[in-house]
């Protein structure tokens, strides 16, 4: 039960500032916001994962979960997915697609690339907060992350 006390690091890949703010607000309510790293596009997400660019000096270790939007500038979500899943050191990171799109083809493509979950952001704020909270708690607290993940 030791891991229940530890909080996994969450990498949130989201280009929309409002979505970032609302997500962080939702996570804050449950004290999950401190360990969230925000990447604003696919490229930044990859820089974090590979510890390069502006994340060159970050502490080592993979995030406990990657919350990934699909529609992103520069490198889109599905491309990030492909790269992460084809990299030996990254492929074990649980990835949750968190998107506005209910499109079946996005969902099929995501699952084919091996995502752990696919969540459509609810319009209703309550539902949104609940979804984020449950995701945060499950992936950052309950779930036992693969070896090599950062925990506080």
């Amino acid at each position: 039960m030791e891991s229940m006390n530890k909080l996994g690091r969450i990498l949130l890949v989201e280009d929309d500032a409002r979505d970032v703010e609302l997500t962080l607000t939702a996570l804050e309510e449950y004290n999950l916001a401190n360990e969230v790293v925000v990447a604003r596009d696919g490229e930044e997400a990859l820089e974090y994962l590979y510890s390069r660019g502006k994340f060159k000096t970050r502490s080592s270790g993979n995030p406990a979960v990657l919350l990934l939007d699909l529609k992103l500038p520069k490198v889109d979500g599905l491309e990030v997915l492909k790269q992460v899943k084809s990299e030996e050191t990254l492929r074990m990171i649980p990835i949750v697609v968190l998107t506005s799109s209910k499109e079946e083809k996005d969902m099929v493509a995501s699952y084919k690339l091996g995502v752990s979950a696919y969540v459509v952001k609810p319009v209703d704020f309550h539902e949104f907060v609940n979804a984020i909270k449950e995701l945060g708690i499950f992936w950052a607290v309950i779930n036992e992350p693969p070896p090599g993940s950062v925990r506080k």
């Binding site: 979505d19 609302l22 506005s100 209910k102 952001k121 609810p122």
Partner: protein, 484 residues
């Protein structure tokens, strides 16, 4: 043609070939002797006389001319004792010319016989050929028209007496689809040819004909005539061209439609993704505001905030319904045979939340098996049943009946009947339109897409939807679908 035939004949007979050789040598030798010893003019004239007699008179005349020539030659020009070689020369010459002559006669007789035979044949059959509506004419091997039936007269506009004897290709100004030499080669080899030709009629208009040629041969297998049958396919060709151009137009339209569909698809995608985000933000921030400022806000302000949230939620539902609706149009139907009774049961489970605290008398009739897309049909039933639940809300005792009505032998008809508020039948045509609502949303919430979805699904199954209602005493919704 006759001359070349004769030469052919000569070549065929060995006697003639050798005779010709002997003759030419004799002529050369005799010539040399004659020039030296005789008055050339005299013997030439005799030879000419014998030749004329043999060529035109036949064997008897040749013999007579020979005898007369010998006698007169012996009498007038040389002593009888010296005349033997001349007699032999005359005799040989006479025989030779006679031979040539008979060969020529035979060839001419053959050709005449063939023509007579053809003409007899044609005239025997012409009455029969005249009965057919097909255009038929016969031409000989030099393309000269020998027979012209009534069909040809009707199609081309020339009477038989105007056409017979003319070169058919010149008369009809035939345009061939491939080089004539190729056609002739194939025709003489196989004895038949089929193809399309362009002809010009007597009045100058052009016709396209499907032409069939067949070759007639005599007993010696020599080609003697061509039977040409032509069918006017001008109208058919024009229709074919029209169909072709219509098909091209159709292909163009379908490409355009495909492009439009694609655009619509990407539009739906963009609605799904981009329109939901700001809506979510509006709802999110408003709710945060409500939470933070609830203590300082008066009742009116709280109401405003609540209205903003409700509207955002409604719009979210609208977008979701609209997307679901557009997905039905794009998705492939996967048809199976399933139990409608079972599906109704599932649909009732799905709408259970809506029936809480309600007093509803359900009446489910016997339902047949249904051939269609199960998940789509489930959506139809859920929509119709939840409508029935919704619009009977004002009734202390709601009655909802689901059953199978008598359809015709091909279709089955399912209905959902309620004793709810009903609607005015004069608006019935608006019922199944997207975003069409017959009740205000304060009384009965909804996005106005449910029945449009029902209609779209049933149409995709090749069925129909319709409704009947009386204001304030209920409505019945029907849908039909082919049994198989």
């Amino acid at each position: 043609m006759a001359r070349s035939k004769l030469q052919l004949r000569i070549a065929q007979f060995a006697v003639l070939r050798y005779g010709l050789a002997v003759l030419s040598v004799s002529v050369a030798l005799g010539g040399a002797l004659l020039i030296e010893r005789l008055q050339l003019r005299n013997i030439t004239l005799f030879l000419f006389a014998i030749a004329v007699a043999a060529w035109y008179g036949g064997t008897g005349a040749a013999v007579l001319a020979l005898l007369l020539s010998c006698i007169s030659f012996a009498y007038f020009f040389v002593e009888p004792s010296h005349s033997i070689p001349y007699f032999i020369l005359f005799a040989l010459f006479a025989w030779l010319v006679n031979r040539f002559s008979s060969v020529r006669r035979r060839a001419e007789a053959d050709a005449l016989q063939a023509r007579e035979k053809l003409e007899i044949e044609v005239s025997e059959r012409s009455s029969l050929l005249n009965l057919t509506h097909d255009t038929i004419f016969v031409r000989d091997m030099s393309d000269s028209i020998r027979y012209w039936n009534r069909g040809a007269e009707e199609l081309y506009g020339w009477m038989p007496e105007q056409a017979i004897g003319k070169n058919s290709h010149d008369l009809l100004r035939t345009v061939f689809s491939s080089p004539l030499d190729d056609i002739q080669e194939e025709f003489l080899r196989t004895g038949r040819w089929e193809g399309e030709l362009k002809h010009t009629k007597a009045d100058g208009t052009q016709v396209i004909v499907a032409s069939r040629w067949s070759l007639r041969r005599n007993e010696r297998e020599e080609p003697i005539a061509v039977l040409e049958t032509n069918n006017d396919i001008t109208v058919r060709k024009r229709r074919e061209q029209e169909i072709q151009s219509l098909n091209q137009e159709l292909a163009k339209r379908s490409t355009e439609l495909e492009a439009t569909n694609k655009e619509l698809h990407s539009f739906a995608y963009s609605v799904s993704h981009d329109l939901r985000a700001p809506l979510r933000h509006m709802a999110g921030y408003t709710e945060l505001l409500q939470k933070k400022a609830s203590s300082t806000l008066d009742e009116k302000c709280s109401h405003y905030i609540q209205m903003t949230l409700d509207s955002a939620k409604r719009m979210g539902n609208l977008i979701d319904d609209l997307l679901a609706f557009s997905r039905i149009g794009r998705a492939e139907t996967q048809k199976t045979l399933f139990s409608l009774t079972q599906l109704v049961r599932e649909a009732l489970t799905e709408v259970r939340d809506d029936t809480e605290g309600r007093n509803i008398a359900w009446k489910i009739g016997a339902l047949p098996d249904f051939y269609g897309d199960r998940s789509m049909l489930r959506l139809v039933l859920v929509n119709l049943i939840s409508n029935a639940i919704k619009f009977t809300r004002t009734r202390p005792q709601a009655e909802i009946e689901i059953g199978c009505a008598d359809g015709n032998s091909n279709d089955l008809v399912v209905f959902v009947r309620d004793n709810g508020v009903g609607f005015d039948m004069k608006y019935v045509n608006k019922l199944f339109g997207v975003f069409q609502r017959l009740h205000d949303s304060d009384a009965f919430e909804g996005t106005g897409i449910g029945l449009a979805t029902v209609q779209r699904i049933i149409h995709r199954h090749g069925g129909k939807v319709w409704a009947a209602a009386v204001v304030n005493s209920g409505s019945t919704f029907y849908f039909s679908a082919p049994k198989t």
